[in-house]
């Protein structure tokens, strides 16, 4: 559920087809640089009302979704 929501936001952000985004897609695959990631995460935080911990170990969609789940359950 969270993955779908994030993929939708990312597809909108990048102007790409949502079907091209998979859990294992890395930020590099998606052509997201560190500024894009910070911006996207702030959008997700605003939309979902959570504070997401972000550090360099989060490099793909799966890891990002896990962080969001942790934040929601905190």
């Amino acid at each position: 559920m969270i993955f779908e929501k994030v993929a939708e936001m990312l597809a909108d952000y990048k102007g790409i087809d949502v079907s091209t985004i998979a859990p294992e897609s890395t930020f590099q695959d998606l052509e997201l640089d560190s500024l894009d990631v910070a911006d996207l995460v702030m959008q997700i935080e605003d939309a979902l009302g959570v504070n997401i911990e972000l550090d360099p170990s989060v490099t793909n969609m799966d890891a990002l979704v896990k962080r969001i789940e942790e934040a929601k359950n905190a």
Binding site: L35, A38, V41, L54
Partner: protein
């Protein structure tokens, strides 16, 4: 006298920070800027924690004013450096080249004033939430690591999205720059390039000569292909790296190798061929070497004059 809430928050006389520049911002320059009423900064660069500890202690021997440490978050020693900052009870930390959140969790409760350098509004909002005392909005006119937005565009956008005071950086080297930054909503400025030509700056004389000789079009950005673009003065090395970046047969690793150690070669050895002389677009405005105290006093006298005269020509 220009006095803003940055002065009160940081405990300084003039709302000016000296940029944290690797191989440039060591304790002599930092102390000189702090003794002159600004905020001097020691760069932790990519050195280990013990280097920083020595620098902090040497700085304390020659100033009793507040000074700070700049942490380059991409450094392999960032975690070690973060710990030394806590142990040495540094009063102000600026951060660059990454997200400082993981370290702010320890610094902020310890009473350390954290002032991250940000290249975008999203990162500004994030660091404010994490407890930043102020935020440095640095435009791509600056020297060294650069983002995409200019100071003119970035500063007012950051000012609008946070409630802590904003320090403008990138392209500021005189009183006109300070006055303009204040009009954009900043409450302080950070200058790097101007302090390269402070008398107390310990860099090789060739580096100072290159800054003094720089023209408006003499800086270039290299390293975009590697994902960490850097602005420096044009020279044979910058040309070589530029050519390599456009050559698809050259690997990123080869480009990295070519640039490795080049800032040290510039700042310490004065190697005009193979050094990377980082400087901002404003380098051409730097015309003379002066003590930090004179640089700061002159910049703020000019800014004050301009800001007070504005009312006479704006109808």
């Amino acid at each position: 006298m220009i006095h803003t809430d940055i002065c009160d928050r940081i405990g300084i006389e003039y709302p000016i920070f000296q940029g944290g520049m690797a191989w440039v911002s060591e304790h002599v320059l930092a102390a000189a800027v702090s003794n002159a009423g600004g905020l001097g900064l020691i760069s932790a660069m990519s050195a280990d924690g013990e280097y920083l500890r020595r620098e902090i202690r040497l700085c304390r021997e020659i100033t009793d004013k507040p000074f700070g440490v700049n942490v380059m978050l991409m450094s392999p020693y960032a975690a070690e450096v973060a710990k030394v900052i806590l142990e040495e009870r540094v009063s102000v930390v600026t951060t660059g080249a990454g997200l400082p959140g993981v370290y702010m969790k320890e610094w902020v409760p310890a009473g350390i004033k954290v002032v991250p350098v940000v290249p975008s509004t999203a990162i500004a909002r994030r660091v404010e939430r994490e407890g930043a005392a102020a935020i440095i909005a640095e435009g791509c006119e600056s020297g060294g690591h650069v983002g995409e937005l200019t100071t003119m565009a970035l500063v007012p956008q950051v000012v609008d999205c946070v409630s802590v005071p904003v320090v403008a950086a990138g392209g500021i080297a005189d009183g006109r720059g300070i006055a303009a930054a204040f009009m954009l909503g900043a409450r302080g400025v950070q200058c790097g390039t101007r302090f390269l030509c402070a008398e107390e700056c310990q860099i090789h004389p060739n580096y100072k000569r290159k800054v003094l000789a720089a023209r408006d079009i003499d800086t270039v950005v290299t390293g975009r292909r590697l994902g960490h673009p850097v602005r420096c003065l044009r020279n044979p090395l910058s040309r070589q790296i530029g050519l390599m970046e456009y050559d698809s047969s050259v690997s990123n690793e080869e480009i990295e190798r070519c640039g490795a150690g080049s800032l040290r070669r510039a700042a310490v050895e004065g190697d005009t061929e193979g050094g990377s002389f980082m400087a901002g677009q404003i380098a051409a405005l730097v015309k003379c070497v002066k003590p930090a105290r004179e640089i700061i006093a002159e910049m703020f006298a000019e800014a004050e004059k301009l800001l007070s005269e504005g009312a006479t020509w704006v109808r």
